[in-house]
């Protein structure tokens, strides 16, 4: 039991905008009232629902591959020293699992969605998720380059494809469906890509990226998944890719989709030297089409490591940078590429990318549909979110940051002309209420009765980055986990799953195909329930 007294509460889901009121907690949930409970005096403080990260890469084969490739970063970053109750670790670009939980909670984030899981190595992802303490976790399974599914789409067998997807979601113990460079990663298996939405994917006659996107979005809606199709479009990072992005969105024809890290998909120009921001055009489209949500995938200057299932893009990035290149193609399903990267303010392309992330956040007018992410660790590490909040809330700070940029760079972006400053209410929306709603998690992202008691309390501070980087209290499931930067408790987080019903006969269809295509036994493919920490099976919804 706990009563938070006297804080200014920001709870956008209930339209509460800085009202001083008590928040009461019992048995891990928000309740109407509690008697004789310990209190936290939050006078002069700001109370938010716990942060929700809709798109991050924190567990599984890809991030673990990146850890292997960046020991020099682990060495220079701030380490986590073991305590009598907490595990050791390293932070930095690719934090270890324990450090990941401490860093997210330390910033006030209490729910994270791992955005890219191959079924084949989903056991690995869940083993790592189990070792991320405090936060609740969900994950999205990679399906847009799954060759069994592409074959079904080629044959026009949509109904069977739907049953297969339902089976695959449960087999991987996932929460949602992710599409990465639809068709392009499959083509990458022979060193090719998929750059045209309406051209058949290499090796197919009928299946195009457009058909994969529309097919998967339809299946996700038919299955009633609480989170819409989570979509990483074709041509990520490429100058002039705005056309592809808009075509993809038009092609969805009113179906729901979450457009991942839109920053990487909002460029004009014909090549690297003419690249420019097309954020306003994309923001206009987003503003006019309410079937979409998106996350920024914002970029901050500095060192990071890029991680994506988009194998062909990573090969290009390796050729451009000449830096280390990791690649792991996953049989019949997906790929994975790793390239360390440094975003430099003096680099024209990087300067545009930095601006585009912020422009999208500032120009998309509905904070319920655009969320704060950096596509961790691609645009920047998640623990740098407070810097982005400062950029959104302080126009003068933005201007200071642009002061050193060349006229050429400034002529390619729109940020200097944007005056909008985010309010605390809007920040609470893009960091918590909005992503929770987009994920379809009814007990997250708000402080109404019945919500999970995930609450963050900030000392009011004119230095916005300091305020958001150093909460006074973080409460997870009703328990104080962080107090003034100190870790007080490290409860296990929950594993959030969905179990869309599927025809049991679908296994009879899958088994022989599997035996031909894979090198693992079909019976060893599914993730066992015992691997999920505190599993919670969430309801499917009516998407009509």
């Amino acid at each position: 039991m706990l009563r938070i007294v006297g804080g200014q509460v920001y709870d956008p889901a209930h339209g509460i905008d800085g009202v001083v009121q008590d928040v009461c907690i019992q048995d891990g949930r928000i309740v109407e009232n509690v008697d004789a409970a310990p209190t936290i005096d939050a006078s002069g403080m700001i109370v938010f629902p716990g942060g929700v990260d809709v798109h991050t890469h924190v567990a599984g084969g890809s991030i673990n591959f990146a850890r292997a490739m960046t020991p020099e970063d682990h060495r220079r970053t701030t380490a986590f020293i073991r305590s009598q109750t907490n595990r050791a670790g390293v932070g930095g670009m690719t934090p270890t699992t324990f450090a990941t939980g401490y860093l997210y909670a330390g910033m006030g984030w209490t729910t994270v969605n791992e955005a890219a899981v191959p079924i084949l190595s989903a056991k690995h992802t869940h083993e790592e998720l189990r070792d991320i303490p405090i936060v609740d976790k969900s994950c999205c399974v990679l399906l847009a380059n799954n060759e069994i599914l592409l074959d079904l789409l080629e044959a026009g067998e949509m109904e069977r494809a739907r049953e297969v997807v339902a089976w695959q979601i449960w087999a991987s113990k996932a929460y949602g469906v992710k599409a990465v460079n639809p068709g392009g990663v499959a083509a990458w298996k022979y060193g090719k890509n998929a750059e045209q939405l309406s051209e058949p994917v290499d090796g197919y006659h009928k299946v195009t990226p457009a058909k994969i996107v529309a097919g998967l979005a339809q299946i996700v809606d038919d299955l009633g998944l609480p989170h819409p199709l989570h979509l990483h479009c074709n041509n990520l990072g490429v100058p002039g890719n705005l056309t592809t992005t808009l075509e993809t969105m038009q092609n969805l024809d009113g179906r729901r989709a979450h457009m991942a890290h839109l920053q990487y998909h909002a460029y004009g120009g014909d090549d690297w030297s003419t690249m420019r921001s097309e954020a306003p055009q994309l923001a206009d489209y987003m503003n006019a089409h309410r079937n979409f949500t998106t996350d920024a995938g914002a970029v901050l200057f500095g060192d990071t490591v890029t991680i994506t299932a988009d194998g062909p893009w990573q090969h290009l990035l390796y050729k451009l940078t000449g830096r280390k290149w990791g690649n792991l193609d996953v049989e019949n399903e997906t790929g994975c590429g790793i390239v360390p990267y440094t975003y430099r303010p003096t680099n024209l392309v990087n300067a545009v990318q930095w601006a585009v992330g912020l422009e999208l956040l500032l120009l998309i007018d509905d904070p319920w549909r655009v969320f704060l992410t950096t596509d961790h660790p691609n645009g920047a590490c998640f623990w740098r979110y407070p810097e982005i909040i400062q950029l959104l809330m302080c126009r003068d700070f933005r201007r200071d940051c642009m002061a050193g940029q060349s006229d050429k760079a400034l002529s390619r972006i729109h940020l200097p002309d944007i005056d909008r400053e985010y309010t605390l209410y809007e920040i609470a929306t893009i960091t918590s209420a909005g992503p929770a709603r987009a994920l379809g998690l009814p007990r997250k992202g708000h402080l109404g009765v019945g919500a999970d008691a995930d609450v963050v309390i900030y000392d009011q501070d004119d230095d916005v980055a300091r305020m958001f980087g150093h909460p006074r209290y973080v409460i997870k499931g009703g328990e104080i986990v962080i107090e003034d930067g100190d870790i007080r408790a490290t409860p296990e987080g929950r594993g959030l799953l969905v179990r869309p019903p599927h025809d049991e006969q679908i296994e009879a269809f899958l088994r022989p195909l599997f035996e031909d295509y894979y090198t693992m036994s079909f019976d060893n493919y599914s993730v066992e329930m015992e691997r999920i920490q505190q599993p919670e099976i969430c309801d499917c919804i009516d998407t009509e």
Binding site: R82, A88, M520, D523, N524
Partner: protein, 115 residues
């Protein structure tokens, strides 16, 4: 004696980790390992439920696991820089515990990879 058949058993002998082995076992030993290679077969068929070895030894004296665990904890805790080494022929779950122990001890965790 009843025969157990484990289908899709995994051979942990070499790095191929083939998981399509059909293992036939009675209560005492493995009697067949279908689809396993010559190395895998030898490995599977080499094991029984017999107690060929004492539960535990401390300074060459047979003892209980409980006592040996306590002595091991004493020796490792007393050390300034203990080493936890090997980890090749154990499960990931055991590896995870071994790393946690090395961390608690303030020692070194290392595997065959370092050779």
């Amino acid at each position: 004696m009843s025969l157990t058949i484990v289908d899709n058993a995994t051979c942990a002998f070499c790095g191929c980790v083939c998981d399509d082995i059909e293992v036939h076992a009675d209560e005492h030993k493995i009697v067949a390992a279908k689809r396993a290679c010559i190395l895998g077969k030898a490995w599977f068929l080499n094991h029984t439920t017999d107690k060929h070895y004492p539960d535990a030894l401390v300074d060459g004296r047979e003892t209980t696991v409980d006592e040996a665990v306590q002595v091991a904890a004493d020796l490792l805790d007393r050390a300034d820089m203990p080493l936890v080494y090997g980890m090749s022929n154990i499960t990931c779950e055991a590896q995870r515990e071994a790393v946690a122990l090395a961390e608690r001890l303030g020692g070194v965790a290392d595997s065959h990879t370092s050779l």
